[in-house]
Symmetry: C2
Subunit: 483 residues, 2 copies
């Protein structure tokens, strides 16, 4: 959690930072009541929204707690805050990827509505704007009645590309609609981006841990992966990345700069700029996987590495699956100098993307709804994830470590005593709880003592019971002799 706010931060971020300083400095103590929203609004001449957002942030970070109809109070410091995982800093050789069998097994959870949803990384449907999305589908079909009567352009439908270009401008990576290639979801985007820059036998650098989907694509392509450690706070280790690129002929680097899966890390603007400069020095393509980027808790960190790209070497991959609706299958690549190659590959492999979902998304963005919705969603996801983390701190065995994400709904949990995350995954599944084993997030079968837990479902008594059950299973496992 970043304690210092900058002048460029929104007002509510600065306001929350002021309170944090007072609480950390002992000016406000556990049990003290915070000023009422109305009082603070008047006293500081700020809007209700600003005060509310500031207080919700403080609550999310565990500084204050809300009491029904009474207001906000300074919280007790958590009895036990679990430390963050340790990051190794060794260089490793490239390895062929071979994890797809376990991934295929794990992914069978995808359609299983009966499992407690700590596995698949999507948000609960109750957080998603389903009614508004259906209205967007109707409006799009009325406005473009012949939407599906032709293939349309391989690049995707212009109304969506125009909106994506407009949003890219807002986040600092200005581009033309023609620079954007719409894809059938984020997986298709990654697939096309990786195929555009790497061929069988090549070496691609990935973060460790990284999203297993990247590893699957590399496995399918026959590309070797070289893993570079990523820190739960600051992201990929830039010094080690530099040495890795120097040592191996690295064709491309895949980095989740904003809301890493599974770490939840968000790189600072300075680190993003340095990452782009570093890869540009080596003339190496940088694939920026930004499918969770909208879920960054502090939107001042939204800017992608692509915004610092001067040589057209960054391929930004986005998706609406994690934010709007997983079943839409609408993603995109902003591919810089690789644009024509990505387009050609799309024509030869996945071909055009379904029309009406593209146009429905375009309508949602154009109407202004999407931006308002994402702002609200960020806060809800932050609150919800914080609630899970608090609960984990009380149920997991002593010695457990876990991340404190700066965005997204994923927590990366390191079990103590080298307990086997894949075993926990299997036992949890037997009890109807879906989690993802850590080893699928590595090309080289690292991270076996980890599991990834998704906090996509709103907190409820049923979720609380499932978290407790997961904690019990972990405690049993941590006590068992290591095999």
């Amino acid at each position: 959690m970043r304690l210092l706010a900058r002048n460029s931060d929104p007002l509510y971020v600065r306001l929350a930072a002021e309170f944090r300083r007072q609480i950390d400095g002992g000016v406000l103590r556990a049990g003290d009541k915070l000023p009422s929203i109305r009082a603070l609004k008047r006293g500081r001449r700020v809007s209700t929204a600003t005060v509310t957002e500031a207080y919700l942030r403080l609550e999310r970070d565990g500084y204050v707690r809300a009491q029904d109809r009474s207001g906000f109070y300074v919280a007790q410091p958590p009895a036990r805050t679990l430390p963050e995982p340790h990051v190794p800093n060794a260089l490793v050789p490239p390895v062929p990827v071979g994890i797809s069998e376990l991934v295929a097994e794990v992914l069978q959870q995808t359609g299983d509505a009966k499992l407690v949803p700590f596995g698949v990384s999507t948000l609960s449907s109750s957080l998603l704007p389903t009614a508004r999305l259906n209205r967007a589908f109707r409006r799009a079909a009325t406005r473009w009645p012949l939407h599906s009567a032709t293939y349309g352009s391989i690049r995707g439908h212009m109304p969506l590309r125009r909106q994506l270009a407009r949003r890219a401008l807002m986040s600092g990576s200005a581009c033309d609609p023609d620079d954007i290639i719409v894809t059938s979801g984020g997986m298709d985007a990654l697939n096309l981006a990786l195929r555009a820059v790497a061929a069988p036998g090549d070496v691609v650098a990935v973060e460790s841990p990284t999203y297993f989907g990247v590893l699957n694509v590399l496995e399918g392509l026959g590309v070797r992966a070289v893993e570079v450690p990523a820190d739960p706070r600051s992201g990929i280790d830039l010094a080690l990345l530099d040495r890795t690129i120097r040592r191996h002929r690295v064709k491309a680097v895949v980095v989740m700069t904003t809301c890493h899966n599974p770490l939840g890390s968000v790189m600072s603007d300075a680190a993003k700029a340095e990452l782009v400069a570093l890869t540009a020095r080596h003339d190496t393509a940088l694939i920026e996987d930004g499918v969770y980027a909208e879920l960054v808790y502090d939107e001042t960190y939204r800017r992608p590495a692509k915004a610092f790209d001067r040589k057209g070497l960054v391929l930004f991959c986005g998706s609406f699956s994690k934010v709007l609706a997983p079943g839409l299958r609408v993603g995109w690549v902003e591919a810089g100098r690789f644009r024509d190659r990505v387009e050609a590959l799309k024509g030869l492999t996945s071909f055009v993307t379904a029309a009406l979902p593209q146009l429905a998304v375009a309508e949602l963005i154009e109407s202004g709804f999407y931006d308002r919705y994402v702002k609200r969603l960020r806060i809800r996801v932050a609150d919800q994830t914080s609630r899970y983390i608090q609960a984990f701190s009380t149920v997991f065995p002593s010695g457990t470590r876990m991340t404190r994400p700066a965005g997204g709904n994923l927590v990366w949990v390191q079990l103590p005593n080298g307990a086997d995350g894949s075993l926990l995954y299997r036992r949890a599944r037997e009890q109807g709880i879906g989690i993802f084993p850590g080893e699928i997030f590595s090309a080289g079968a690292k991270h076996r003592e980890f599991v990834r837990v998704s906090c996509g479902a709103p907190w409820s008594p049923a979720i609380e019971r499932a978290v407790a059950a997961l904690g019990r299973l972990s405690c049993e496992l941590a006590r068992e002799p290591r095999t």
Copy 2:
């Protein structure tokens, strides 16, 4: 054109066959008036629909012509019917595929609404049920409001799989909904089916000519293709296929049994059964590309090779792009014993398919609309294509050969004097006419003297002018010295 009808054929097929025999035998001569629909209906005690369909078939085949408000008359025999292309019958060695650069260039036509649409193989939007499809989208969104709020199953949504299984039963290839894997269009289906059965370095047998998309997938996979000649009437040469499989370690065979692209051929049931028996003897997988199968003019030939599959070695690939709407991106694989492998590969590559298009298609089939629509569409496509073929016969240079398709909207034209189809493709494009060059339908750069012409747009003065322009370009080309 099949002259003999069997007792198992529908009544209108048998009725049309009777008239053909009379015309061919000279009983009815050019200019003779056929019985009025009412008279025949009474005389034969058949329905109006039966008589109408029989007459429309005769008209399509050039046997009769309709005269407004007057009835049907026996037509003049066409002044000049172009012969069908010659098929070589030599065995060839497997070759690595390398056509994707030209294909990528050709596919840029896909989104170009200004080109005369003789290239991309889709039907004109005026033939497609766009209003009914939009109603289906609305109904599906109302019935399943949370359609896109989760990923759903990798196999696809159950309402669609249930309808696909029901239709498979009707066409003789009974299967369970769980045997069907929904895909993001026909290209995704072929991709998954080929990946499921072949690995880099393997040999896969394809028809010559064959759909370039199959060749692209093989190129992407690093699989070598061995080409087996296919006849414009009877389809793949089974004797040569047998010798090819014996000679090379063929991992799979890809065949378009019903409405071949680009030949328009439809294999008989006996040939389909023999094809399945032959591949089964060698334990070779058979990928049946059935994306045009619904467009077979004579629906008695609808039955897929999959219907004769006893060992689970046939992977049937279908799609709604050619029949219902290209921009839907809904296809499927009925993968037999490879089902689990196809499902796992889908999870690792293309991932889940967009939800609402699947559910809209399910609604269209369930309501009964789809079956009625396809019946009408077959006749319209047959009529329209016949019209193009008649026009081609008068404008193409002497010595031209072309197919007489038994299904679909594609005509495969062989230019005389070895004129270069790729050159015709480029010159036509300069004049705003899209056609596809023959060489992309071969792994080994065969078929250079061919072009594929799509007859997807309804006949009109503008189309007539474009056909005439294409004829002129071809005549110029045929007169030029060969380079």
